[in-house]
Amino acid sequence: MTPVARRWEQTLLRPIVLTVMLVCVMWSLSQVIGLIAPGWSHGLLLSICGLAALEAYISFRVVRGRYISGIELWQFRAVEAGFGLLAIKIATLIARGAPTLPAATDVISVIAALLDAETLLLFFLAVVCALSITDSLTDFEILDDLPALKEAAVRDANRSPLDALTTRFFVGGGIMVAAAGLARVDFTNLLNTQRAPVTGLVLNVLVYFVLGLLMLARTRYVALAQGWQARGIKIAEDLSARWMRYALAFVTLTAVFAFALPTGYTSGALGWIAVALDFIVWALLILLAVVMSLLAVPLNWLMVRLARWLPVNPAILRPPPLPKILPTTATPWQLHGWYDSVRSWFVWGIIAAMAAFILLTYLRDRPEMLNALKHSRWLTALQRWWWALRQRVSEAVSAARAASLLTRWRDWRRRQSGLPHAPLFRLGAASPREQIRFYYLGLLRRAAEQGFPRRPAQTPSEYEPMLTAHLPDAQEEADELTRAFMEARYAASEIPPARARHVREMWRRVRAALQKQKRQRPL
């Protein structure tokens, strides 16, 4: 049985992609840490995380290659952690320079000076990176190995490696989005809902999600292909490559679509959230003030009692001057003009459509809930009202149309010409039987234009040899079209819509052959 994932994919591509994604997450985290600790070195953190990912990959291979397990594994991990800590310390020393150490006799103080907060934080983040990489590689290994996949399915039916990888992708993405957002918004200004929106591309977030989606697509293929192999299903050779091509095209097109949509909104749309947040903050402040007042009452009483025993300093009793009210520096976001309003309502509409779609999908998966909703009294009454409204509106529109001058003029013209009223033929609204008849009659018309018309006495079967003789490129299609027409014209059996679609395809090929012939015909 050939492995689904290729060797280079397992050993090179996956570790690289995982490392890049991890660095993207760490970049956002590093920016947040940089806000708290201004001297924070982003490059140092990213280098350490990258190296930790590399080390995790190598140690994963070593552990698997030498079958290390049990106590030995714990020892191995301890040594790894020790060396990792040492390496991080050396790296910080190189980056920051040697710190001033206390006297050598005070060992605890020396250790405390060496293991400062920066080193410990770097170590913690490096461990997180290493664990993420190891867990992801383990899940990939289970996916690649069919017996291991079966064993994992038996061991825990509710958790598959694919689920674990997907969850990790979303959790990592969530952390990164939150961190990237916080890094772009001033902490002190976090609860101010009237602040200006942050614009611009967040590159590391984009890279993470695009790579992650492609990785998910690949993982999905590997999981399905393993199942197919297990059931002895033949897999087409080009399926793997096509899958990735389609995934890339799909993600790219969706990204183009996403970038084309507007993102700005006014208080008319998502400003409701801002209002709600303002209210919550206001309520919290009031509550805090009430609690503080209640706490201050006994303290006040106590202070008043104590003050009688203390000498009075008149300078203290004077109230301090009130602080000056400075003009606000933050420019409140405001959108002017009809364009912004339209754009804002467009965003609002998209969000409403998304919510409706998700709700519909949810209900579609639960038909019993949908049925209960359909039969609810309120909804039935609403539906009845809606139909009555529609009927009245359509009646009014029809009456208006009939009374309009244009309709009268058309009627007059028709009466003058003496032609009967013929409603327009809409192919989309026609039945499959009518559609097939339409295609065949269309073929006859085109054939007549090309110089080989059907004689009135000829049956479709008699005409077919003539047709196929003139259309060497589409003989099968012409034959099929003729048969479909005879079925549609003379058989009483029901014709499914798929049959009409298939015949349409045949008709297109015949039409193309006719057009080609027309082009090639000498003048």
Binding site: T166, T167, F170, G173, G174, V177, A178, A180, G181, L182, R184, V185, R195, A196, P197, V198, T199, G200, V205, F209, L213, L216, R220, Y221, A225, W228, R231, G232, I233, K234, I235, A236, D238, L239, R242, W243, Y246, A247, F250, L253, T254, A255, F257, A258, F259, L261, T263, G264, L277, V347, I350, I351, M354, F357, I358, T361, A498, R501, H502, E505
Partner: protein, 394 residues
């Protein structure tokens, strides 16, 4: 899917609270992946068209290739398709054909498999099951099924060396294609229209008043037609050899019909009551005697579809079919057991002017008492137990 929606909700809230425009774009991206993925999968499922090309009828021992063409009728590609063809195990050994592939816009994929026709019967090829979905696994795979198609294997036909059937016609051995046996000038009555009846026989006045197709029945001048009455009642065959005996009875009927039509060029009909392999319901089959080769095909097809039944006594069938035959016709009864009521009915047929012959598909010969009674009634009994015996002629 739940994780996906939760993440989408988180993205929207983060974007709204932190007011980062790019996160809205991200949310659109994920929502687009979710919606467009579903739409793509749904559309792909609707655009799959499956077509099987094969000869729908075959004889035992034939190998029939089946070419399945899966077409994508849409403009969008189908990213993956797991195709599975369900087939009867009598025709092909498992595992059945299953393949995973991808289809470009308006592209097609073909695969072929061979059917080994080992046993007569009506079989269903399919349904063709197709699983498809999106590339990212946002939604569970969708399944669609194509309609199954019927495939008929005719019963084995053994060339008979000679056929010594009783007949009241002095010209029985001579070939005659012309319908000489009925006198159209003498209409004796009408009956329901049956497949194979000439449109000339339709009695239009009676049809109009009855509201259903009726054909004229003429008084026969000389009847040289044969009706094969096949007994497929399970109680008529010894339970130890029931299945083999019934198959042999069907082979016998097919061989006799073939011999009479192809070699002797005389009309032959078929009457039986059996479970129809197509509908799985007990059905009465009656094919009136006709001499054409196409009629032989109809007989073979009927025999291919027939399966044994539980409630169809032979005596009842004989009683029911007797009025449909012209005077002087030969009734050829194939059964596994002779009962008293059948003999009584056969005696009645003899008295009514029919020629009667009995083919007994049975391992031990018929009991002496029965044999003696049949001889008394001048009903010839032909015992058949192997195909070789059948090949030797009756």
């Amino acid at each position: 899917m739940r994780r996906y929606l939760l993440f989408l909700l988180f993205l929207f809230l983060t974007a709204a609270v932190l007011r980062v425009d790019f996160f809205f774009t991200l949310a659109y991206l994920f929502f687009g992946v979710y919606v467009l993925g579903q739409m793509w999968a749904g559309r792909a499922q609707r655009q799959i068209h499956v077509e099987r090309r094969f000869v729908p009828r075959a004889f035992c021992g034939d190998e029939v290739p089946v070419r399945v063409t899966v077409r994508n009728l849409g403009r969008l590609p189908i990213p993956w398709l797991e195709a599975h063809e369900s087939l009867p195990v009598e025709l092909i050994s498992p595992p059945f054909h299953a393949e995973a592939f991808s289809l470009g816009p308006r592209a097609q994929h073909q695969f072929t498999y061979l059917l080994n026709c080992r046993k007569r019967g009506v079989y269903r090829l399919g349904p063709f099951t197709a699983h498809t979905g999106d590339v990212l696994g946002v939604e569970a795979p969708r399944t669609s099924e194509g309609a199954p198609e019927s495939f008929i294997i005719y019963p084995r036909v053994i060339p008979l060396a000679a056929l010594r059937l009783p007949t009241r016609s002095p010209l029985a051995a001579l070939p005659a294609r012309a319908p000489l046996f009925e006198d159209p000038a003498r209409v004796t009555g009408v009956r329901d229209y049956a497949r194979g009846d000439s449109p000339r026989r339709i009695h239009w006045t009676a049809t109009a008043s009855a509201g259903r197709l009726l054909v004229k029945q003429y008084q026969p001048a000389i009847a040289r037609e044969t009706l094969i009455v096949l007994d497929l009642n399970r109680e008529s065959y010894d339970h130890r050899v029931r299945y083999d005996a019934i198959e042999l009875a069907i082979t016998t009927a097919a061989s006799l019909a073939n011999h009479i039509i192809v070699r002797e060029r005389l009309p032959v009909g078929l009457a039986l009551e059996a479970v129809d392999g197509l509908t799985q319901q007990t059905t009465r089959f009656f094919l009136p005697p006709r001499p054409e080769r196409l009629h032989l095909t109809h007989i073979l097809e009927t025999l291919a579809r027939a399966q044994m039944t539980q409630a169809a006594p032979l005596a009842d069938i004989l009683r029911r079919e007797r009025p449909r035959l012209a005077w002087g016709a030969t009734m050829l009864i194939i059964t596994g057991q002779i009962k008293d009521d059948v003999l009584t009915e056969l005696a009645g047929l003899r008295r009514a002017g029919f020629a009667v012959a009995l083919v007994l598909v049975q391992s031990p010969p018929a009991p002496a008492a029965i044999q003696a009674r049949a001889n008394l009634l001048r009903i010839p009994i032909h015992a058949v137990w192997t195909e070789r015996e059948l090949g030797g002629g009756l």
